[in-house]
Symmetry: C2
Subunit: 107 residues, 2 copies
């Protein structure tokens, strides 16, 4: 089914020490798991989707999470933020301003 909201979590890796860093190194996999856990515990498979993805571009602000169809990019997302993003953005269409990538990075 076409999800009402589709969450993409960057889990892209780069070699240790790479100057640009990467979302895998900054904890993207744990963030991915946290979103999957929220999806499962809410039994929200018919409304939302969570998909791992490759590089989204602004690597030094990772872990990054991108929500479509809104096109809202979050940066420095921690596993503990997943619940709030579900509660506020996915359920009520109100993006979390505190985690949004700043103007110039994305919007």
């Amino acid at each position: 089914m076409k999800p009402k909201k589709h969450v993409f979590v960057c889990t892209q890796g780069r070699p240790p020490g790479h100057p640009r860093g990467c979302c895998m190194q900054s904890g993207g996999q744990a963030v991915m798991q946290a979103f999957l856990n929220e999806l499962g515990s809410r039994n929200a498979f018919d409304r939302f989707a969570v998909t791992a993805c490759g590089c989204l571009g602004p690597c030094d602000g990772g872990p990054h999470v991108l929500v479509y169809p809104d096109g809202v990019l979050y940066q420095h997302v921690q596993p503990g933020d997943a619940g709030e993003i579900f509660d506020q953005h996915l359920e009520f269409d109100e993006p979390l301003e505190r985690l949004r990538a700043p103007a110039g990075v994305w919007d």
Copy 2:
């Protein structure tokens, strides 16, 4: 920058012989490369983005390509289709009906 259109290409793998198959096995990586080639040859980095992603769900119709913010899912995409998707959908907002996942699979 926030892309006008964001193309996600499933490159998910599963073990050989897995009953559900996977987009990697059906050629997802070549499709991904074809979209990257189109992006580069058109020098369209400021308008469009192409990102590899994990499983999108309806695995037996792969390779799958998902275009946001529209939320249009294409199935059985071949590398030779990338140019047409760019020409028609990305540039002129007209999805390719011949490759769209049928009703019930996505929409």
